[in-house]
Each structure stands twice: as C-alpha cells, then as structure tokens.
C-alpha cells in the first residue's frame, strides 16, 4: 500500500502530508503507517549521506542501521530541539564522524606497531594473576556484548573466522546478500573490539 493511501489514525490527512513531529507522535501511539512514512522520508537521506563519506556499502549499511537505531531508540529524542530534521541529521553526522575517528585511530595504532612486535606469536608470554583476571574480564565483556547479536550473525562470524569460508559461500549458506554478510561481520567485529577496549 502506498504511504499516501494510509491515513494517520483518526485524522483524515494522509501520513505523507504530516510533519515529522506528527509522525513521531503517531509512532509513539503504535502507528506503523506513521513509522513507515518517517522511515521512507529519511532512509535515502541518511543512507546517501553516509555512503558519500565511507565509500563502502557494508559500512554504509552498518552506520545507517546505527543511525536509525539511535533515532528510534527514543522517538521523543528530538524534544527540546526545533526540528526533527536537524536532530536526525545530527545523529547521522555524529555516527559517521565517530566511525571515521575510530577508523583513523585503528590505522594509527597499526602504523605504530614495531615490526618485531608482529612476530609476538613466537614469543613466550608469561602471565601474571593480574593478566588472567584482566583476560577473564575481557572475555566476559565480549560474551555480554555478543548477547545483542542475532544467532545468524554469530554463525556468519564463525563461518568466516573459524571455517575461513569466503563471503559468497557464507551468503549462500545463510541466504543473505554479500553486503549483509559484510555488514554483519563488521558489526560483530566492532562489538568485540569495543568490548575489549573497555577493559
């Protein structure tokens, strides 16, 4: 059904003619028509804005999902601001900027690694009790963060990093697009890295 054909609750105006504030208000009452219209209105704006900055479909999907999650986590989040458009734009911009900052920081860290440290797998690591405790905490944080991941995404991560399967084959096995697989891998990897970094 076209969004124009959907009516906003008791009102006779089509949802496509409603202001963003009215759409948010309708969403809070449980109107899927209001949600669909707001999503339709902003999806391409957010996706195109992000893709122009990350130049990568998997990252663009991941960051678009992150932006919308923030927007709809608290639909009244724009309260106190003059415009939902300004608020949503700000969310998308912050999401991209944070991503670019993290990417730059990781690149810098890799650049700073001394070549001899790249062979650390050949060295003997003598662990202290403090090391063990820190490791346990890191693993616990990683396990907790993975509770928010869908089972199919964990399976994708396992197929990629344990079974070492190519993206194409994983996509075929779980019946999802290659981009969805890349996006999922990126999300799980980042959750693990964030959990590790918090310790």
């Amino acid at each position: 059904m076209s969004p124009n054909a959907k009516l906003g609750g008791a009102a006779t105006r089509p949802v496509s003619s409603l202001a963003d504030e009215e759409l948010f208000a309708g969403i809070q009452t449980g109107s899927e028509a209001h949600f669909d219209e707001l999503y339709r209105r902003y999806f391409t704006r957010i996706y195109a804005f992000i893709q122009a900055r990350v130049h990568n479909r998997a990252d663009a999907e991941e960051l678009t999902q992150e932006s919308f999650t923030v927007v709809f986590r608290s639909p009244q989040g724009f309260s106190g601001r003059s415009s939902p458009l300004a608020w949503i734009y700000g969310v998308a911009r912050n999401t991209v900027n944070n991503h670019l900052r993290r990417s730059r920081a990781q690149t810098d860290k890799l650049d700073q690694v001394e070549p001899q440290h790249l062979h650390s797998a050949h060295t003997v690591w003598t662990r202290t009790p403090e090391d063990d405790l820190s490791l346990d905490r890191t693993l616990a944080a990683m396990e907790a963060s993975l509770e928010t991941v869908a089972p199919w995404q964990l399976e994708v991560f396992r197929l990629r990093h344990v079974e070492d399967l190519p993206i194409d084959e994983i996509a075929g096995r779980v019946e999802r697009s290659n981009d969805a697989i890349r996006s999922s891998l990126y999300r799980v990897k980042r959750l693990l890295m964030d959990a590790g970094a918090e310790r």
């Binding site: 449980g30 996706y47 999650t69 300004a86 697009s177």
Partner: protein, 69 residues
C-alpha cells in the same frame, strides 16, 4: 550567492519543520547534500532497506509493549 547556494537556502526555508534558526546550526552545503538525496538515485540494497525497516519496527513495538507493562 551562487545558484546552488540559493537553491539550498530556499530548500532549507521551505522544508517542513526546519525553522531558519535551526538551519543556522549547519552549513547550507551540508543540509543541501542531505536533502538532495530526495531527488537522487536510491543506491541502497532493497533487501537491506526492508530488513532494517522490519527490525526497527519490531524493536519499537517491543519497547512500547515493555513500557506499557
């Protein structure tokens, strides 16, 4: 003011729900680019678009039910 800038300012003025004082938070170029997507090609994967829509709606509904308890 060039033509592109004038178009952006006009769009910002006429966009519903965007008072001019808010537009002042961002550069005209930034907002122009954000709104230009309305008229550009949709390059997103439709499967991703629909899956995200469903996921967001289910989350909203779940949260609404939890708040209603």
């Amino acid at each position: 003011m060039n033509e592109r800038d004038a178009r952006a300012r006009q769009r910002v003025r006429t966009e519903p729900g965007l008072p001019e004082e808010v537009a002042a938070e961002f550069s005209t170029e930034e907002l122009l680019e954000f709104l230009e997507a309305d008229h550009g090609p949709d390059t997103a994967d439709p499967v991703f678009r629909e899956r995200l829509r469903q996921q967001l709606w289910e989350t909203l509904e779940r949260n609404r039910r939890l708040r209603g308890r």
